[in-house]
């Protein structure tokens, strides 16, 4: 990569700002499938109306602007610009160069098409090459093995298991913390580039 590398452009998707006009309706629809919220947060899952979603987007931009600890991008189709999901780095501690990542593809029909993988790769490059982070963390529930597999595929290593920290559907699950260090990301990236050349 070099200074003219477009950090937000993928092959299938691009990372882009929130569209306050169009996005609230789409994401409000997604929130009616509670499994998305459950995968992302530990607070009680509930659907959000379009108005609530609008307020949430405003709060997100305010958070990005005022705290300087958060970067929030929408994931959009490269061709048609349709909203696919979001990816964010949050809880950045500049003193220690660390941050946490969250990623969502909202509509289940759009999952498994490579959008999430591309968004993650763009966001990791942004985190390590632009924000100069030393490490990126992800927290996932044991009830979401697809997410554990997904992040592991990109080099994330399991670091912490907070035993039975989630109670859902009458069952207990571990909260799993994964981490990726810049050196590990660099090593796996250079391998990939070698692969591309072959």
């Amino acid at each position: 990569m070099s200074i003219d590398t477009q950090l937000f452009e993928g092959k299938l998707i691009r990372l882009a700002p929130i569209d306050h006009e169009k996005d609230p309706e789409v994401e409000s629809r997604w929130t009616h499938d509670l499994s998305l919220s459950r995968a992302l947060w530990r607070k009680p899952a509930m659907p959000l109306s379009v108005t609530q979603m609008k307020k949430k987007y405003e709060a997100i931009e305010k958070e990005v602007d005022e705290t300087k600890r958060c970067f929030h991008f929408t994931i959009r189709g490269r061709e048609d610009n349709r909203l696919l999901g979001f990816v964010r780095i949050e809880g950045v501690e500049w003193t220690h160069s660390i941050g946490s990542l969250k990623l969502a593809i909202g509509d289940p029909v759009e999952r498994g098409k490579g959008y999430g993988s591309e968004a993650l790769q763009l966001m990791l490059r942004f985190a390590f090459s632009e924000l100069n982070l030393y490490r990126v963390s992800v927290v996932v529930g044991e009830d979401n093995p697809a997410a554990v597999k997904f992040f592991t595929r990109f080099g994330f290593v399991e670091e912490v298991r907070r035993r039975k920290a989630l109670v859902r559907d009458g069952q207990t699950w571990d909260s799993i913390h994964l981490g990726l260090l810049r050196d590990e990301w660099l090593a796996s990236n250079s391998k990939e580039e070698d692969g591309d050349e072959k």
Binding site: K43, I98, V160, R162, A165, L166, G179, L181
Partner: protein, 189 residues
Amino acid sequence: MKNDLLTGKLVHLTAENPEVMAECFSRWNQDSEWLRLLDTEPPRLFSQKNWKEWLEKNLEKDERDRIFFAIRTLEGETLIGFTGLFDLFQQHGDTLVAIALGERKFWGNGYGSDAMRVMLRYAFNELNLHRVGLIVFEYNPRAIRSYEKVGFVPEGRVRGAMLRDGRRWDYLYMGIMREEWLAKGIMTS
């Protein structure tokens, strides 16, 4: 009044006015070792006035996701530190606990462990949580030993999460389940 649930062998847990805690925090924060054992944020040496405003805003508001108590000695009623619950998720029965003794001369004499045992009893017997977790820094072996003594077990380490004095340090996660706490049999009723 000494409520049994909040009273240990050496200390009891109390609610304090913001101006009382503000004086303590402003003073304790000037002990950089104390602060570096406690927090990842760089010290800012806020004034008592600033602390008071912060405490009024943050500690007086609703208690659904955090709880804060001061630690006072039973003998002499000296305010020696604080303990609190944060990231409290009642629906998951889980919380993180924090504890710190600002008064250095009370370090290493069992006051912290005693306060932690009282806090655990509160978490398990009053809040009915089923686990309590904590984060401790790799360079704080004294705290790690004290948590082990109370019954916490290691749950993992976040590699290199902190950069201090030119090197990377891990955060350690520890946790104690209700059954482990019951089995330990200290101050369970």
